[in-house]
């Protein structure tokens, strides 16, 4: 089934070696109005993300229009932890080490509740860690992470330098000061409201980054690659 995404829809890349879990996560995500691509391994995920360059590969899970050699925009990666070959943790690391991909929020799923594993993943930059099987209530927690990143990208694409805004931010800082992005549920509403007001004001606020020491400094990592083509340019098939 070919689907054309609208600009409103977020695109999630789901990685899991279990065919049943892929079907489940796909349904969960689609029910929440996300566009979904599923792949069965970390290496395929990296290829899909364009990690190896411009080449688009045909996977069993997704087929992409062969005429388009641009990268696909992915707003979030959700991956199983336990996979043969490249684990979810390995995939997380590769994404966070890549200048091209590190902005993409990554979420880990696992069937096992191992505290040290959870800590390790969060320290490596995962936004959240979910125990399988995932529920709809878990999927509802994903949107804020995608919105936050999208907003950041929109601000960067608008081309307003950060320096200018820093002075103006003195006043604004108070009302926006609550943008602490550690993925905690109770700050979601604040983030959302702030995101809305920011869009209206079209002012920049990179404060949402500064307080987060888990996230690498965004300012350094900016590259023109960030302005990837929107998902609507491509037709992606998912089961």
């Amino acid at each position: 089934m070919g689907m054309a995404a609208t600009d409103d829809q977020f695109h999630v890349l789901a990685v899991d070696d279990s065919v049943i879990d892929r079907k489940l996560i796909e349904r969960l995500l689609k029910t929440s109005s996300f566009q979904v691509t599923t792949v069965d391994s970390g290496s395929k995920a990296l290829e899909f993300l364009g990690w190896h360059g411009n080449e688009i590969n045909m996977f069993s899970e997704a087929s992409i229009s062969p005429n388009n050699h641009q990268e696909v925009e992915v707003n979030l990666v959700i991956t199983d932890y336990c996979m043969p070959g490249m684990t979810g943790y390995d995939l997380l690391r590769k994404i966070k080490e890549s200048a091209l991909l590190r902005d993409i929020p990554v979420v880990i799923m696992s069937s096992e509740n191992v505290p040290s594993r959870i800590t390790r993943c969060l320290e490596e930059g995962a936004e959240e860690f979910f125990l399988k099987p995932m529920k709809l209530s878990d999927v509802n927690k994903l949107r804020p992470h995608m919105m936050r990143t999208k907003l950041k990208n929109d601000i960067i694409e608008n081309g307003k330098p950060e320096n200018e805004e820093k002075q103006e931010n003195g006043e604004e800082k108070q009302e926006n000061g609550e943008i602490i992005t550690t993925g905690e549920a109770d700050s979601e509403m604040q983030q959302f409201q702030t995101a809305q007001s920011l869009q209206q004001q079209t002012s920049q606020n990179n404060n949402n980054n500064n307080d987060n020491n888990k996230r690498k400094s965004m300012e350094e990592g900016l590259s023109p690659d960030r302005t990837r083509p929107r998902y609507s340019d491509l037709t992606v098939m998912s089961n």
Binding site: S18, V19, I20, D21, K23, L24, R27, L28, T31, C82, S111, K132, P133, K135, L136
Partner: protein, 136 residues
């Protein structure tokens, strides 16, 4: 027909064959995806064939590779968890415990239980889906 289907379904929960995860599956079923639960269950049974065969083979090889057995069972158990197959899952856990202590007899015996529960649930779910379909 509808009442029979509902009765069968409730029995599956009451008798411990299914747990809350099955409810999650049902919640994901809607007009756009009217057969979702049945599809997932079918997929489970198709996919589990290779895992069961793999365990059979590995159990036959000596010396027993308990690590491998545990690994395969981990995958299988994951699937049972995903569809809410409570009794099958329980037997899987038991099997893994025998693996952990290297109890060959226990593994072999327990694996029979796994297969039995796996087959029993399949029959029951097939009946249920049949009735549910006829009820529509």
């Amino acid at each position: 027909m509808e009442r029979q289907a509902a009765y069968l379904r409730n029995a599956l929960f009451d008798q411990g064959y299914l747990d809350e995860q099955f409810l999650q599956l049902e919640d994901l079923q809607d007009q756009a995806n009217p057969h979702f639960v049945e599809e997932v269950v079918k997929l489970f049974y198709t996919d589990s064939v290779r895992l069961i065969q793999s365990i059979e083979l590995t159990l036959k090889n000596t010396p027993r590779d308990f690590e491998k057995l545990d690994k395969i069972m981990h995958q299988f158990k994951g699937s049972t968890t995903s569809i809410g197959a409570k009794k099958v899952k329980k037997e899987c856990t038991q099997f893994q415990e025998y693996c952990n202590v290297g109890n060959v007899e226990g593994c072999i015996r327990e694996f029979q239980e796994v297969k039995q529960e796996h087959a029993a649930l399949k029959r029951k779910l097939e009946n249920y889906f049949q009735l549910a379909r006829e009820a529509r």
